[in-house]
Each structure stands twice: as structure tokens, then as C-alpha cells.
């Protein structure tokens, strides 16, 4: 027999108390999504979902166990209770996650639009069709792939037996198009994504045009000569690198020897022009929330300030071990993760960075990050695309080369930071950056 979440949660708390699990905490997440995908002038995919997930955490014999379910029925109550007990019996760590009463104060932060929630499905389908139409009408060298419009809404609640009772709801919409451009032997894929909190944020013409431009400008690409070169990394690409290596700023990783930043607070670990900020309270930020997954109040902080490491990202357990306050970055499951995480913008435009570089590479795309980048050693060697730059001007597209380096060294080699901070559908963002040297392997 299915139950609604309030009834189910009450039953779980009751069963936990009877089983001697105290304190106990329930996290409940529910999400809804809508996706329309068009291809070749027709709606190809239409997807709608609603999902729930409930996690019980609770203390048994001094340790905190965890179990979760997507089924809110009688059988799950038994599974949650026995799962928490078994989990608590297996865990051996000294430092414990804790279940605590609420903090004294939580900031308010908004990344939810009621108006977006009210947009009917037909309007979102029409937008996908509109992007598709504009893609079909473009340059004959471009073969449109698909156009997608997706919206999502998420609600996350936490409730515990010590008086904690928090809820945060967010939503967003994004639209993207992808295409393949071909001319002779040369082929290149194009992609453009826009996102926001209303239909005005996802303009059909801007998506279609952006996608075509992205594909076309890479046609006729040559190869790069192997060697060391100065590189301007496009903001979105730098954000991809930052995202891949964001774990090096986790105190959890540092304390376990999985990051080289353990105990290095106060040291210069990056170039003076690098300031790295974690801002969970950013209005309309993709990763914004007033509280983290332990129910701790979130706050804004600089992780790197003028090149100096100020703090790592903490949850309560890592903070206790390090003798500091939590930074409000608990991500659930004992992990630590950034919220809206970005390199603070500088004053120069991308073109000024290219001019400052003179000769080198404008790196616009890296792929295979899950394979070609090692978040523990910091080493990366990535299949890349970009443009060769001479005298500060883009001269031709280049492809089929790798860019290799080390993330820790990269932070030190940043020579200038651009003004064009961008978040490409991710809570991790960056402006363009000029890096003094990276290794390129081409021909």
C-alpha cells in the first residue's frame, strides 16, 4: 500500500524510535522534469517524470547508519530500519557524521520561478520546434542533430528528531541544439546551450545561431605542432577543468591524502590573479541553497584569494577533524562539494587576453575529462579543439591534438583572468584565462 510522504515519514520516525535509533533524520527529495527533443522538423522524444527518494539516517550504538528508498510502502519501513542498523554496525570511522539541531539563522536565497512552473508543455514543445526550424534553415554544410528543451523542478526537505525542519525548492529551464558540420573531409560538431528561469532566457534564435557558428568556425581545422605553448582557455572549458578537479578543494579528500592541498591554508597555491569563490547564496544560481545536506547554514567564502588558499570546503565531520567551522558544503553521503563555484572575473576581455598572449592557442573544447584527467594527481591529457592564434588574432581552427598539464601547476601559471565569467548550464563557472604554458601534442 503506497503512502503519502507525510504519513510515511511519521511512520518511519515512529519505527526508528521503537528500534532505538536516536536521533533520527529524514531527507526527502522530489523532482519533476519535462523534456522535448526535436529532430528533422519533428518532435522525436517527449519525456515527463516525477520522482521521490527518501533517506533515513540515525544513530545506533554510537554510529550513524544510512538507508534509502524510492518506495513509500510498508516493506520499505522495515528495509530502512534494518538498513540503518546494519550500516551503523559496519561503519568503523572514529569521526562521526552528526545529527544536530538547526542552526540559529539561515539566509534566504531564490532560484525558483513560479512563472516558469506555470509554462504549459505546449509552449516548451513549440520552443524546441522553433529552434529546430531555425537549425534546418541554416547553412547547407550544417546537418542539424537535435534540439532539446528541458525544465526541471526539485524540492529537498530535511527533518530530524532534534527540531530541524527545512525545505528548499528550485527550478530551471534549458534549451540546447547540436549539429554536425561537414565540408569535404572536414567534420565538426557544434553545440549551444542556454539556461535560466523563464522562457526569455532561452531564445530560439540565439541557440540555433550559436550552434551553427560553433560548428562552422571549426571546419577546415588543421593540426597543432607539438610543443609548449601559451594558451587562452575559454571560460566554459576552464569551468570544465575546474569541475573535474574541484575535488582537490575538498577537505574530505585532503584529509584522506587524495588532494595535495592538505594543511596548506595560508600558502600561495595559485597565481596572484586567481580568486576562487564558493557562493551558495548567489541569487538565481544553479547551485544555490540556504542549507547544505547536513542542515548547516550555507555561506559565501573565497577558497583562493589573490592566489592564497584561504580554506578548503568542509562538512561538519571534516571541520571537526581540522578544528574549524563547517563551510556548509556537505553534499550527502559524507562527501563535500562546492555550490556555485567560480574563478572571480578580472578586467580584460577575451580579445585583450588573446592580444596579450600574442602567439599561442585559444582552447575552446576538451573532451574525455572522465578518462584523461586524474583528479588525485592533478595530471590531465585531453583531446582538444581550438584555434591557432598569431599576433593576438585567431588564424585558423585546429583539432586532433591533446593538451596536457597538471591542474596544480595550471593554477600557478594563470597569467591573466578575463571579464567574461560564464556558467554553461553548470554551477561551476569561469571567465577566460591566459595560461603561460601547456604541452600540446599534435603532429
Amino acid at each position: 500500500m503506497e503512502m503519502n510522504v507525510e504519513t510515511f515519514a511519521a511512520r518511519v520516525f515512529e519505527a526508528a524510535e521503537q528500534a532505538g535509533i536516536a536521533p533520527a533524520e529524514i531527507c526527502f527529495g522530489s523532482s519533476e522534469s519535462f523534456t522535448a527533443r526535436t529532430r528533422a522538423g519533428a518532435l522525436e522524444d517527449y519525456q515527463v517524470s516525477d520522482r521521490v527518494s527518501l533517506t533515513l539516517r540515525g544513530k545506533v550504538g554510537g554510529r550513524i547508519g544510512t538507508a534509502s528508498t524510492q518506495a513509500l510502502d510498508e516493506e520499505s519501513i522495515g528495509l530502512l530500519i534494518s538498513g540503518v542498523k546494519e550500516s551503523a554496525s559496519l561503519i568503523e570511522t572514529d569521526e562521526q557524521d552528526e545529527i544536530l539541531p538547526p542552526d540559529a539563522h539561515y539566509e534566504t536565497v531564490c532560484n525558483y520561478s513560479e512563472a516558469l512552473d506555470a509554462v504549459p508543455a505546449q509552449e516548451k514543445i513549440a520552443l524546441a520546434m522553433d529552434i529546430d526550424r531555425r537549425m534546418q534553415a541554416c547553412d547547407a554544410r550544417v546537418k542539424p542533430d537535435s534540439s532539446v528543451v528541458r525544465s526541471a523542478k526539485e524540492t529537498f526537505c530535511m527533518k530530524n528528531t532534534l527540531g530541524l525542519d527545512l525545505t528548499h525548492t528550485s527550478n530551471l529551464i534549458y534549451a540546447y541544439a547540436s549539429a554536425l558540420a561537414k565540408e569535404g573531409e572536414s567534420a565538426a560538431t557544434g553545440f549551444k546551450l542556454l539556461w535560466g528561469y523563464g522562457m526569455d532566457a532561452v531564445d530560439a534564435q540565439a541557440v540555433a545561431e550559436g550552434c551553427q557558428e560553433d560548428a562552422l568556425c571549426q571546419l577546415g581545422a588543421g593540426r597543432m605542432k607539438s610543443g609548449k605553448t601559451a594558451v587562452v582557455i575559454r571560460g566554459g572549458t576552464m569551468a570544465d577543468l575546474l569541475s573535474t578537479f574541484s575535488g582537490v578543494f575538498s577537505a574530505d579528500n585532503a584529509q584522506k591524502g587524495l588532494s595535495l592541498l592538505d594543511g596548506r591554508e595560508g600558502e600561495a597555491i595559485a597565481s596572484e590573479c586567481v580568486t576562487l569563490t564558493d557562493d551558495p547564496l548567489m541569487p538565481w544560481g544553479l547551485g544555490s541553497s540556504p542549507f547544505d545536506r547536513e542542515g548547516a547554514a550555507c555561506r559565501t567564502k573565497n577558497v583562493i584569494e589573490g592566489g592564497v588558499l584561504r580554506t578548503l570546503l568542509h562538512n561538519r565531520k571534516t571541520a571537526k577533524k581540522a578544528g574549524v567551522e563547517t563551510t556548509g558544503n556537505a553534499a550527502g553521503g559524507g562527501r563535500v562539494a562546492p555550490s556555485n563555484f567560480f574563478i572571480a572575473p578580472g578586467s580584460q576581455t577575451k580579445d585583450e587576453l588573446l592580444a596579450k598572449m600574442g602567439d599561442g592557442l585559444y582552447l575552446t573544447d576538451v573532451s574525455g575529462l572522465h578518462a584523461g584527467a586524474n583528479p588525485i594527481s592533478g595530471d590531465f591529457s585531453l583531446l582538444s579543439r581550438g584555434f591557432e592564434v598569431k599576433d593576438g588574432k585567431i588564424v585558423r581552427p585546429v583539432e586532433q591534438f591533446t593538451v596536457a598539464g597538471n591542474f596544480y601547476q595550471l593554477l600557478k601559471d594563470v597569467a591573466a583572468v578575463g571579464s567574461d565569467l560564464i556558467f554553461e548550464g553548470s554551477p561551476i563557472g569561469s571567465p577566460s584565462v591566459l595560461v603561460s604554458a601547456l604541452s600540446v601534442a599534435g603532429e
Binding site: E2, R39, A42, L43, E44, D45, Y46, Q47, V48, S49, D50, R51, S53, G65, T66, A67, S68, T69, Q70, A71, L72, G83, E86, S87, S89, L90, I91, E92, T93, D145, S146, L180, A187, T189, K256, G257, L258, L260, G334, S367, G368, H370, A371, G372, N374, I376, S377, G378, D379, S381, L382, L383, E399, Q400, F401, T402, A404, S439, A441, E443
Partner: protein, 461 residues
């Protein structure tokens, strides 16, 4: 599990406004995961993913709606949401009559993980951890993970199918970090199978897993960076098969072939690889990580020859792409869970054993790279461009393995590398991976014998 009468009612409701086909995929799973770090078990959790996805074909268009509310009312509501999106209203209001088809099980499970005492499970991680740490004092950290999944599925569709299947997976993951203080290097080993806890009795020795991961990390710690350039490459078996998986396998999935976004589209019957290359995608291998009795659309799996002596023979095809291409599905329709509509995916995909001697291929290669162990990789199916990390590489000088090198990656195009394979060894071995694509992350085996590629671009420093 859902009764036949509820399924009939839900499928009929999904087709109430038209549509040519309706399907329900119901899943109720039990997962258990446990992680050990710094020599201690840090977390352990059970979870129960459960939900249902309803799919309707509206012409050649797929409508997919999924939910966690699997009560009769919840499923009917979900079917109505799917029906509301149907545009072609011809033939609306069909009755659906189901017949149970029993799925024979080719993968015997002896000890379901959740029936094994918790401490016996924990012992696996402790064994991997202490064996890894015993390899060298430079081993500074070991992450060991135990993962198990028991997925119960029920698939019913408007063509009368009503069938169930259970998939049981067990896996040990181990990653060891070797540190010199200023530098870290990692090595990993992640064996798994469609088996229960007997995996650790029959196939996998947790101590050997820990040792192998640790040795690889220690070797890489003292290795210099690989220098870049074009050179001949010998790639060892097992996870070395990731190169075929990424560079060729994805481009043979109907997902990229049907829309013409693959460099192998329209090339059936043509030579796309060197004559020494035969490649197979086999869903039937007993108890293998990528095997399935039936795919996630209910189609029984089989053994599919992709490339025979260099000639392209078959694509991997799911039901909907099969309709669009006018070709029969190949038991390749897969999805991570009910939260994904299925599409064509790989299962156990490998280059078949050949005729060549492994020692000879290194002896006659001159100067080049021996990739003893591959990391992961990725590919752009439209252009065929790929990128693989070499986890453990060795320089070959004058036909002899000289010294270990780190940081190498292999880049190129799928169509090129297939044509440049000039040696295929005699013994095929497989490795386990989680393959991510449009329908989520699914267990797949990669595999090959040791092979040689006459030349390839190596990225390094």
C-alpha cells in the same frame, strides 16, 4: 511485481488516445554499497530504487513518462500523461491482451549478497586494502568499494508480452594511491560479474585485486612523463578493449547510426577494419558483467557479429531505431533504470582472438609504446575522434620493453585505428566498465586479445 491485469489496464490507458505501441517497464531493486578508506569502512548503505516507465510510440516518436508512484492509480495517471502527448489519434482505444512469457535464466546465482552476513562482506574490502598496503610503503591511500545490485524487472507491452527477469551484479572496486609527498599516482582494478557473493569464491581474489592496483600506482610514481608523437602501439587485453568500445562500438549503436551521426552509417558489407579484425557483441556469456537474459525491452539477447574479417556485418539495434531503420532489434535495448527510455547499447563487446604471437608483436615493433593497462576514454561518434588515457604504459625501444611512462593518452579516429590494427593475439580477455550514454549508465564488458596498431598519436608532455 505488477499483476497482468493492472498491466493490461495501464497499457490500454496509454493507448487510449492513439499510438502504435505501448510498453511498461517496472523495476524494484535492492542495492548495497560499502566504501573503505584509510583502512576503515566509512559508509555502508542499502537502497531500494523502484519505479515504472511507460513508453508510447506516436508514429516514430517516443513518449516516455516515468514515476515512483506505482500504485494502480499512480500508474494510470502516468499512462494518461503519456496518452495526452499522442498526436496521431488513429486507432485509439485498443484493448491489450497479455500472455506470460517465462524468461529462462542463463546466469545461475548461488549466494545473494544481502543474505551474506555483513561482516563477511566487509572482509572483502579489508583483504583488498591490506594486500594493497603491503605492496609498498609509498601506498598512502586505498579506496575499496563493494557494490551489489539485485534488479527485478517486469516488462509488458501492447504486443502481448508480459515477462520478468532478475539481474544480479556484484563488483569490487579498488583504487590505490602511491605518494612521494609532492606527487600522487593512482592504480585501480575493478572486477565484477553477473554473480552473487560467489564471485569471490570463483573468480575474484580480493587480495590480488588490491596488489594489482597498488603495483600499478607504485610503478607510475617513479615513471617519467611519456613524450608525445606518432608511434606504433601494442595494447594489452582485458580493459585494453575499451579502445574498441569507445572508438568503434559507440559508432555501431543504432543511436548514432540511425540519425546518420556515425562514421560507420551506411557501411554494412564494406570493409571498415583490417582483415585480421573480427568483433563481437555478445549478451549471452554466462555470468558476465554485460550479459542479460532479455534486454530492457524484453527481447532475448544473442551473439551479434559486428565485424567479420574486417567487413561490417551488423549494428546494435533497439526496437524504435529498428522501426526507423527497417531492421530487426538485436536484443540491445538497454537502460540504467526505469528513469530512462531504452536505446541501443553494448553488452559484452570484444575483438575476437586472432592468430598472432604476443611476444613477436613487441619484438618486431621497433620503437613505440606498450599500453599494459588502459584507463577510460571517450569518443565523438559523429567524427570518430577518441581519447584514451593509458593508466600503465611502457616505452618500447628496439623491440624491447624499456621503462614505464606516465601521462600518456591515445588519440585518433575510430575508422583509422581499425584499419591500422596489424596484429591480433591468441587469447581474448575481458574487463568491466560502466558505460554512460543516452539511456544512462549500464554494465558492459570490454575485451580483446593483445593487439598492435601500426601507428597512433600519443599525447604526453
Amino acid at each position: 511485481m505488477l499483476s497482468m491485469s493492472i498491466c493490461q489496464e495501464v497499457l490500454a490507458r496509454a493507448l487510449a488516445k492513439g499510438g502504435t505501441f505501448a510498453e511498461i517497464f517496472f523495476e524494484d531493486s535492492r542495492n548495497f554499497s560499502m566504501m573503505l578508506r584509510s583502512g576503515r569502512i566509512e559508509n555502508a548503505a542499502t537502497s531500494r530504487p523502484r519505479g515504472a516507465g511507460i513508453r508510447v510510440y506516436d508514429g516514430l516518436r517516443s513518449i516516455y513518462v516515468y514515476t515512483c508512484d506505482v500504485s494502480r492509480a499512480g500508474l494510470l495517471r502516468t499512462a494518461e500523461r503519456a496518452a495526452a502527448a499522442v498526436t496521431d489519434t488513429k486507432g485509439s482505444g485498443r484493448d491489450v491482451v497479455l500472455h506470460e512469457r517465462v524468461t529462462p535464466n542463463a546466469h545461475r546465482i548461488e549466494r545473494p549478497v544481502l543474505s551474506v552476513p555483513a561482516d563477511e562482506r566487509a572482509q572483502i574490502l579489508r583483504a583488498a586494502d591490506s594486500a594493497a598496503r603491503a605492496v609498498s610503503p609509498s601506498i598512502s591511500q586505498v579506496n575499496a568499494g563493494f557494490l551489489s545490485r539485485e534488479q527485478h524487472v517486469l516488462i509488458a507491452n501492447s504486443e502481448g508480452l508480459y515477462t520478468q527477469d532478475t539481474r544480479v551484479y556484484t563488483r569490487l572496486t579498488c583504487s590505490a594511491v602511491a605518494s612521494s609527498g609532492a606527487e600522487n599516482q593512482t592504480g585501480s582494478e575493478n572486477p565484477g560479474a553477473m554473480m552473487g557473493f560467489e564471485l569471490f569464491r570463483d573468480r575474484v581474489d580480493p587480495e590480488a585485486v588490491g596488489r594489482t592496483a597498488a603495483k600499478s600506482a607504485v610503478t607510475m610514481l617513479t615513471a617519467p612523463y611519456c613524450s608525445a608523437g606518432e608511434m606504433p602501439i601494442v595494447i594489452a587485453g582485458a580493459f585494453g578493449g575499451v579502445i574498441f568500445h569507445e572508438a568503434c562500438g559507440h559508432s555501431l549503436e543504432a543511436t548514432s547510426v540511425e540519425p546518420g551521426m556515425s562514421e560507420f552509417a551506411g557501411k554494412l558489407g564494406q570493409q571498415i577494419a583490417a582483415p585480421c579484425v573480427t568483433a563481437i557483441d555478445d549478451g549471452t556469456m554466462p555470468n558476465e558483467w554485460g550479459s542479460l537474459n532479455i534486454d530492457d525491452e524484453g527481447t532475448p539477447t544473442g551473439r551479434l557479429v559486428l565485424i567479420e574479417n574486417g567487413i561490417l556485418k551488423n549494428y546494435m539495434i533497439d526496437r524504435l531505431n529498428g522501426l526507423k531503420m527497417g531492421m530487426a532489434p538485436t536484443g540491445s535495448g538497454r537502460r540504467e533504470s526505469y528513469a530512462y527510455a531504452p536505446t541501443s547499447r553494448m553488452r559484452n563487446t570484444f575483438i575476437a582472438a586472432g592468430q598472432d604471437d604476443e611476444e613477436e608483436m613487441i619484438r618486431t615493433m621497433g620503437d613505440g609504446l606498450y599500453a599494459a593497462k588502459m584507463g577510460g576514454g571517450s569518443v565523438n561518434p559523429a567524427t570518430g575522434e577518441f581519447n584514451f588515457a593509458v593508466q600503465e604504459g611502457y616505452l618500447v625501444k628496439d623491440g624491447k620493453i624499456a621503462s614505464p611512462v606516465r601521462g600518456a593518452s591515445l588519440i585518433g579516429k575510430g575508422s583509422e585505428i581499425l584499419m591500422r590494427i596489424d596484429r591480433v593475439g591468441r587469447e581474448m580477455t575481458m574487463g568491466q566498465g560502466m558505460c554512460g550514454s543516452k539511456s544512462g549508465s549500464v554494465p558492459t564488458n570490454v575485451g580483446q586479445p593483445t593487439i598492435r596498431v601500426s601507428r597512433l598519436t600519443v599525447g604526453g608532455k
